[in-house]
Amino acid sequence: MISRQAFMTALKISLPIGVAYIPLGVVFGLLVENQGYHWLMAPLMSLTIFGGAVQFLALSMLEQGSTVLPIVIACFFVGIRNSFYLPAFFERFKDYRKWVKAYLGFAMVDTTYALLLSPSPVEKNEDEGYCLSLAFFIHFFWVLGTLVGKFLPTLPGLEFSLTILFAILTLEQFLKIRERWPFVCAFIFWLPLHVFLPQYALVGGIFLTAFVIWLRFKRRFSSSLIGDAA
């Protein structure tokens, strides 16, 4: 059901993410252990929570003596950005099996979203297997990273491949839409947030930018309706 070609293509495309996740996972694994928890807790958290930012935030709040409820609330505000990702794929996932849709939803993290935004490299009838494999590999690499951290020496700087990935995908999106204002808008919101509320700069930036883009289209759309009526 998943063709070899779809599987291997997904592996090839997700491998750079794997390379970036290992040093991040190592740091997370060390943090868990240094706080006196069982070392298996790190891969367990990666498997179930599957969100780097949330996991780091939870751990640092635990260290400061925070209780469960405030941690869950803070993590909600960091994790809510993921809700913005799935709608981009409603059309694409429409006819996929239920459990595939469910897993793709759960595995829709920053990098899965980024990689799936690019045009599918496989035939249409193999896309389901491709998406599933890609999400699986990204999940797998994240768990693996937190697991092997204990045993592997790592090179500093590997995680920079994530920055390169996002930079190139920004460019790819720009070449597709050919409009500058959404990017300018995102940057203008991000900058002050980054200075005053760094923890929420990403999620705040996404919310505000989404709102402004929506507002702009809503205005354009309703004014054209009025124009039609006249």
Binding site: K12, I13, G36, Y37, H38, M41, M45, T48, I49, F50, G51, A58, V68, I71, V72, C75, F76, R81, N82, Y85, P87, A88, F90, G105, F106, A107, M108, Y113, A114, L117, G157, L158, F160, S161, L162, T163, I164, F166, I168, L169, T170, L171, E172, Q173, I177, E179, P182, F183, A186, W190, P198, A201, L202, G205, I206, T209, A210, I213, W214, F221
Partner: protein, 108 residues
Amino acid sequence: MLLENNDLLVLTGCLFMLSLVTRLIPYTLTHWFERSVTLKKTGGILPGAIMLLLMLHTLDGVKWSEHPHGLPEVGVLLTAVIIFLWRRSLLISLIVGMVLYMCLRQIF
């Protein structure tokens, strides 16, 4: 120690639920997205802005005011972008960028 591990297990369980809810809730809005042109248009434009925000977010650790003022990072990003415009391959850009970045980290 054991108690602490249990506490962390409880927290992990809560955060697992949180991940499920925040990521799967969009499915409940499917028909809404199908009907609204405004939402569809927004969805077409938003990913680029999100990619830019993620890029800025991952640049968090760079100390712009200290030597070498983020020059390796900016240099590598520019190189990766130029290579992408030339070859149109994400993989080639990523690999060249990574190798260059590791080299620059050794120098600076």
